[in-house]
């Protein structure tokens, strides 16, 4: 065996040789071994001596000069504060420039897709500069200006509803600059459990070949085994006694000063690599779970309300249950490789097991193209289910993400009447042409309901929530294999019987209350109705009506009872955020952006919110840095369990091995060949 087999991770440097010996047939010296990290592969360029390389740091290459620039080290501190149903977050991103150059850092990061970002502060040493909300182009101009004059400046922009970028100009050599963002989001509630997520990294995206522009600004670099770090603390004032506080993603340290007072929660391991989303859950003690909650607030002369209502369970009548026709779609694209495809398979298997023989089903898998297990929906007989399970176990994750083809196939079957037509979409949402998919769902949904199941440690939640919203279904996140069972079971139980359909929320008065979401989804068991509204001249009561196989549901809640009206809860921001989201949805499904842009801009400026058209900018005019800076992208940590395109392809054949074995065998045969009898015989007799 050759020596090279024994050499572990090496970097090959042939630039020195390349300039010295230009003969094309000569063999490069093999191999000049340097420090042995993944990231140490050096660019093939004379100006990049290996001294530039530090273990564990990502190297970037300037477009032309090819000089390696060290990305600033990023650590993040997240402080969350929950009051009832509303969470307020402060995220401090600390950029430490470890190089001897002035750098301009760009960091692309996700935030919860319901986050209403409303604050920016730039901290350099002891100085604090408060950012302003401006129209996007104006913010960019003042940032560029400051950047060119050597001032420290920071610009926070929204690239997509759940994807943001921070740019920091003029970070001096070995200097640290802190960017502090604040935002607000609503807490989710499902089947007795409250949940809050902080997304830590991105899922690398795939965009179909014909939509390359969709990837603009959304493919930041990734690093393996290192990346930004994260520490997190949560002050939880749930308003009710808590039975349980847990996280399915991280170990927690929980401090409870009293049974009902605020609880302090932090990550047990302190600072961690930001390679998976943080998911926090809490469960109120039994009987103290809310049946309804109504918060009100005044802002700019308007009343805003947040309503959560848990309709009573009328008791499910098995006779009245409608048969289901469920189409499962499973994403087998490359980004699903690793543990993701395993989770998806488990999820689907539990879904198949939950079907009854009266139900019908089909399974569609897609990567570069989509194919169905059966030509059409088949009855969920044990044989059919077994066949589907067998095929599921053979699936491998490879290839692109042509989601539309799969949806097209699923929506191809006309839904029968008196049947619950459901599409369950299991994916990591790693797709670039979101808009096309949304348009398709909006245009073709009909009576179907689309449920999305997010797989992996950092699924594209915006995509999946939006798809479910447009599909009038729900979104379920499954972040680790251990919880697949429980979470999926909850979904299947839900799918079995919608509690309330055709839900209508009426704030009374002149009917001018602007309620969001405008199209209320079906309600399932354990799931609350959560709406935010700008009330206008609302009546004294909120009325909620709905239908369920024979039952009519009608509930009333008095308005004006909210004593919290004087407190700044930020409901108006949540409302504005949803309103903006709604307007942006209009653009996605075909309205002219020219009409939508001014309305979104006005709303965002009024409520001081970051949006696709408004950005936050902070400039420190007091200090200047000498010398031109380099643009550097700060890499994200690759999501845990995700191997992006999978691994690189296997590109070695066993041919040399066979040839060597063959040669050795022949040589051995030669060695043991039978000699001439006489010579052999003599030897034998002598013994």
């Amino acid at each position: 065996m050759k020596l090279e087999v024994l050499i572990g991770s090496v970097s090959l440097l042939w630039p020195l040789w390349a300039s010295a010996a230009p003969s094309p047939t000569a063999r490069p010296p093999l191999p000049a071994t340097t420090a042995s990290s993944l990231d140490d592969a050096a660019p093939l360029n004379d100006e990049a001596p290996c001294d530039d390389v530090q273990a564990g740091a990502l190297l970037l290459y300037g477009e032309d000069e090819g000089r390696a620039v060290l990305a600033p080290q990023l650590s993040q501190r997240v402080e969350l504060r929950v009051t009832g149903l509303i969470a307020r977050a402060r995220v401090v991103q600390s950029f430490e420039n470890q190089s001897d150059d002035v750098v301009h850092a760009v960091y692309t990061f996700p935030l919860p897709e319901t986050a209403a970002v409303d604050g920016l502060r730039l901290a350099v040493g002891e100085r604090r500069i408060v950012g302003e909300i401006r129209e996007r182009a104006a913010a960019q101009r003042s940032f560029e200006e400051a950047s060119q004059q050597g001032h420290k400046a920071s610009l926070v922009e929204q690239q997509r509803p759940n994807l943001f970028s921070t740019r920091v100009a003029n970070i001096g050599p070995h200097e640290t600059v802190e960017v502090e963002l604040s935002y607000q989001q609503d807490v989710s509630y499902d089947s007795g459990t409250f949940a809050l997520e902080f997304p830590a990294t991105l899922t690398p995206r795939y965009a179909p070949a014909d939509a390359p522009e969709a990837l603009d600004g959304v493919t930041p670099p990734f690093s393996i085994e290192d990346g930004p770090t994260l520490s997190l603390s949560l002050t939880l004032d749930a308003g009710v006694p808590l039975q349980r506080i847990a996280s399915s993603s991280h170990a927690l340290k929980v401090v409870r000063p009293s049974t009902t007072g605020p609880v302090s929660v932090s990550l047990a391991r302190g600072e961690v690599l930001a390679d998976r989303d943080v998911r926090l859950e809490w469960t109120p003690a039994p009987d103290s779970a809310p049946r309804s909650a109504l918060f009100e607030e005044q802002f700019g002369g308007e009343r805003y309300a947040l309503l959560m209502l848990l309709p009573p369970d009328p008791g499910l009548d098995p006779e009245g249950r409608l048969p289901r026709e469920t189409t499962f779609i499973i994403d087998t694209s490359g980004s699903m490789s690793g543990t993701s495809i395993e989770q998806a398979r488990l999820s689907l298997e539990s879904g198949l097991a939950a079907l009854r023989p009266v139900d019908r089903f089909n399974v569609i898998q897609f990567d570069d193209s989509a194919s169905a297990f059966f030509p059409g929906p088949v009855p969920a007989t044990p044989e059919h289910v077994q066949r589907a399970v067998r095929r599921l176990r053979q699936l491998e994750a490879d290839g692109g993400t042509e989601m539309l083809a799969a949806l097209d196939l699923a929506f191809d079957v006309a839904p029968a009447s008196e049947v619950l037509s459901q599409v369950v979409f299991v994916t990591d949402g790693s797709v670039g042409n979101e808009a096309d998919v949304f348009r398709f769902i909006e245009g073709n949904l009909g009576p179907r309901r689309l449920f999305t199941v997010g797989i992996g440690s950092a699924p594209n939640q915006y995509f999946m929530r939006s798809a479910a919203r447009l599909g009038r279904g729900t979104f379920t996140a499954v972040s680790d294999s251990g919880e697949v069972g429980a979470r999926m079971q909850a979904l299947w139980t839900k799918l079995d019987a919608p509690l309330l359909r055709q839900v209508d929320v009426d704030f009374g008065g002149d009917g001018r209350a602007e309620v969001l979401p405008a199209r209320v989804p079906d309600l399932y068991r354990g799931e609350p109705l959560v709406v935010v509204a700008k009330l206008g001249a609302a009546g004294p009561d909120v009325r909620v009506r709905g239908q369920r196989a024979g039952h009519a549901f009608d509930a009333q809640l008095p308005l004006g009872a909210g004593a919290g009206a004087s407190r700044e809860l930020g409901i108006h921001r949540l409302w504005a955020r949803r309103q903006i989201e709604d307007l942006m949805d209009r653009v996605i499904v075909g309205d002219s952006e020219e009409q939508i842009r001014p309305r979104v801009t006005a709303l965002a400026l009024q409520h001081r919110l970051l949006s696709q058209y408004t950005s936050l900018v902070a400039v420190d005019p007091a200090r200047t840095v000498a010398g031109p800076g380099q643009d550097v992208a700060v890499p994200n940590a690759l999501p845990a369990g995700n191997t992006m395109f999978g691994n690189m392809p296997q590109t070695a054949t066993p041919a040399p091995l066979y040839l060597i074995l063959g040669a050795v065998s022949v040589a051995c045969a030669w060695a043991v060949r039978p000699r001439r009898r006489r010579a052999f015989g003599v030897t034998a007799r002598a013994r």
Binding site: E4, L30, T219, D368, M644, N647, T653, A663, R673
Partner: protein, 188 residues
């Protein structure tokens, strides 16, 4: 007695040796012969047919042709860098843009056969890619790196690139090692 035993061992080893040599040779033979058959499929592709399967049971088709005149390399590139396609020619790594659509086009092939020449390429050296519509794109080699197989960042390099991936080290006897040799070239 002893002689017969020797005969048996010798014959066994010879058969084993022949089998190994045949299998090793078959890999090289397949790689070479397939390219000849692929040439026909490529001609049909150039004539405007899409997804021309080189033989009826093939699950891949030609998407481009890779040339290095200086090294006498002329290869038909297949769709997909799976084991079943790279036995016959370089494969286009799915998830990266197709040749001719811009972006970072990544191709992979075996270090023992089609991409053996990569160990000798030098910076600035020209590579050509012929597209189904007849256009020919010229690339100049910029860099070569050894990376871990899990490190697929180079497949995501922004901008227009040609990225060629093969196994490293070139002369390792045992396949399946964790390292890849990645050559990147820029259009000129």
């Amino acid at each position: 007695m002893r002689t017969r035993w020797r005969y048996a061992v010798c014959l066994g080893l010879l058969l084993l040796g022949a089998a190994c040599l045949a299998r090793g040779g078959w890999i090289f033979g397949k790689a070479a012969v397939a390219q000849v058959l692929l040439r026909r499929a490529w001609s049909a592709t150039r004539a405007g047919d899409a997804r021309v399967r080189p033989w009826p049971w093939a699950d891949t088709w030609p998407v481009a042709r890779l040339l290095s005149p200086a090294r006498h390399v002329d290869l038909v590139v297949l769709e997909g860098a799976t084991g079943s396609s790279t036995a016959f020619g370089p494969g286009h790594i799915l998830g990266t843009p197709l040749p001719g659509t811009g972006g970072n086009v990544a191709l992979a092939a075996h270090r023992d056969t089609h991409f053996r020449f990569l160990r000798d390429v030098t910076p600035g050296e020209a590579l050509y890619v012929e597209l189904p519509d007849g256009r020919v794109q010229r690339y100049a080699v910029q860099s070569a790196r050894v990376v871990d197989e899990r490190d697929t960042r180079l497949l995501q390099t922004p901008g227009t690139w040609l990225t060629l991936v093969t196994c490293y080290p070139f002369d390792a006897a045992v396949p399946g090692g964790p390292l890849r040799y990645v050559v990147q070239a820029r259009p000129t």
